[in-house]
Symmetry: C2
């Protein structure tokens, strides 16, 4: 508890604290009348009235006019949180593409922009692509850069608490990159970076197949297997941020079976051209083609070996298959279930991602929104 | 928040709440004067005085007399928590032995009793042994059964929240056993049951090598590999209580290498006789015997495979080697480190248990003490 300060600043501090309380109530439930907000905050009606006047003046809230004219007598004034009073950007920085999304403070998408990139692109150029994607989103959404409240970034590899990449085997030159600091030069707001699988796991919980699931493993299947863990409703990063690096369990075996389905991990083959090969194999397997089914079977056996090791360790409620292969859930899920059933005491629910290729960018937007919320609340904290 | 009740019970309820606050303060720091307790509880001195009078009358606290007579004038009266105002029992129920321990409310050991049992003993008889060990501890400690405040039990297998054994491959007839309910018939207090590796993990954090470590894996090495996980300072049991069942990862390979060092998993060989064989192998390996070293090398390679899978999943700060092999840490730890280093991005600290064969029973006592504490605090909760 901070001591009450006996200065002339007290009055305005109190007013700010009340404003933030009213703003929180309005974000929770909007539109709301003064009576509604007095009830949800426990503040007196005159206090709420003063707070909402401040919020309207500062651009955080506005009065709804629509219905007022249709009614007889003097209707209760209703207020809404102005989700356009600030914006956030989210990024999914991958080997083949940079996906950016501009959203308002309610998380509503304003604009999404995707740029394909060469997997061999050097780090400096890849960061430059992120900057360009940001500019495209802001221009298309007609949002001034100064109105950004936070930026969230998902990246492969291990990211430390300051947003530096400490380990990465996927992106050239990425190790040692102070990614958050580099991007901060382009934005006058907080830039947060997290591992892509971690963000996807949280996005599945917020928007996808894992709503209300507190313990889950999200498998991001690509060139390597990455995993994001949510335990007890929170991302579990591990002591050194290396939780979920299950791709290292048996990399040679994974390489062999992965190559047949997803193509070899070289620059050339990781283009859109191989997506067509993968799609053909999946289509052939669905049609019962023996060769294609063998590729799928072998792939699932090795993927299940990794998923089983994680299941035996943490016993999650759900395992989610993410990345491009989520669309082949009809082939993958029953095979994974059979394998995991054979090894584990209890087989978790196994589901395909319902937000697919959007999971990481959705998680990045969530991360940025969370940071914007915190910033809003910290305005009220006495210094 | 509970509403204040406008009945004549209010006064005594308030007094009870104050008593519990004073009792908590006294348990935290003892001996303490009235002034000390007023400062730590925030209660007024007359309130503390009334509360301590109640506590002394009920037998929870007593006044220290020792120094008073040596001093001139009237010294401040000092009070202590009476750790002998209640007792707890902890049990380690294993294949070969039942270990029981009677402790006072400060966790001080009053008496420990161990009974060797046949690994093939049926469930009913094994539970009867637990009852006998309890009786021996109480008799030796001259503690009446009615003064027990809680009983904690560690058992192999998966234990549900009600203390029923849902899965167990180690003890005959153990699956489906309502262990907590069965033992409750012998005690007029709460009986709590948890997985043995979970309790050992918490004990290492409380008394052993993992003090102040929030993320750890405890490997209980015996006939099977069991693991207890502490994540974020709390036992992680998993959605279905099956976290740490890593022994199922590659049971055939484990069986082969385990058999050479620890003996085959049959009744006869799991006697003390094979402990001598194990000890001879360890002694020979320390002396540089090539055959013995091969057995140790192979054993460590397979153990490391299991430990690496868990490390890749949760990235703990520390891995603890528990069970009988903790004493061979000089041979095992460097080999495990080398293997895990080869696979994982970050190798956790790997340590041998410092509380060895006592880990499970210590954890069981901790579990019982925690329950006794809660019972004490709930006395103050309005019904």
């Amino acid at each position: 508890m901070s001591k009450p300060r006996a200065t002339s600043g007290d009055q305005s501090l109190l007013r700010l604290i009340n404003s933030v309380a009213v703003l929180s109530a309005l974000r929770e439930s909007s539109p709301a009348t003064l009576t509604d907000m007095a009830a949800s905050t426990g503040l007196s009606r005159p206090t709420v009235e003063a707070a909402i006047a401040d919020l309207v003046e500062q651009g955080w809230a506005s009065e709804l006019q629509a219905e007022a004219e249709r009614r007889v007598g003097r209707p209760a004034r209703r207020y809404v949180f102005r989700a356009d009073s600030g914006y956030v950007l989210g990024f999914d920085v991958g080997a083949h593409r940079v996906l950016g999304r501009l959203a308002d403070l309610n998380g509503r998408t304003i604009h999404t922009h995707e740029t394909q990139v060469d997997p061999q692109l050097d780090a400096e150029s890849r960061v430059a692509v992120v900057r360009k994607v940001a500019a495209k989103c802001l221009a298309a959404g007609r949002v001034e850069r100064s109105r950004l409240m936070a930026v969230g970034v998902g990246s492969p590899g291990i990211i430390d608490a300051d947003g530096n990449v400490t380990v990465s085997t996927v992106l050239p030159g990425w190790v040692g990159l102070p990614l958050a600091r580099k991007l901060s030069r382009s934005f006058h707001c907080t830039v947060l970076v997290d591992n892509d699988a971690n963000l996807a796991a949280m996005a599945e919980r917020g928007h996808g197949v894992a709503q209300d699931v507190d313990d889950l493993i999200y498998l991001l299947i690509g060139r390597r297997i990455g995993a994001g863990l949510v335990l007890g409703g929170r991302v579990h990063r591990g002591f050194g941020g290396a939780a979920g690096e299950i791709g290292l369990l048996d990399p040679q075996k994974w390489e062999r079976c992965r190559e047949l389905l997803l193509g070899p991990a070289t620059t050339e083959s990781l283009t859109d051209r191989h997506h067509e090969v993968t799609d053909r194999i999946i289509t052939a397997a669905r049609a019962g083609d023996a060769g294609a089914l063998t590729i799928i079977d072998d792939f699932c056996a090795v993927l299940a070996q990794h998923a089983a090791a994680m299941t035996l360790t943490v016993d999650p409620e759900m395992i989610i298959i993410g990345g491009g292969l989520a669309a082949a859930g009809d082939l993958l899920l029953p095979r994974l279930r059979t394998h995991i059933d054979r090894v584990c005491i209890r087989t978790p629910r196994i589901e395909a991602s319902t937000i697919g290729q959007e999971a990481v960018v959705l998680g990045a937007v969530q991360l940025a929104l969370h940071s914007a919320d915190e910033a809003l609340h910290q305005q009220a904290a006495p210094t």
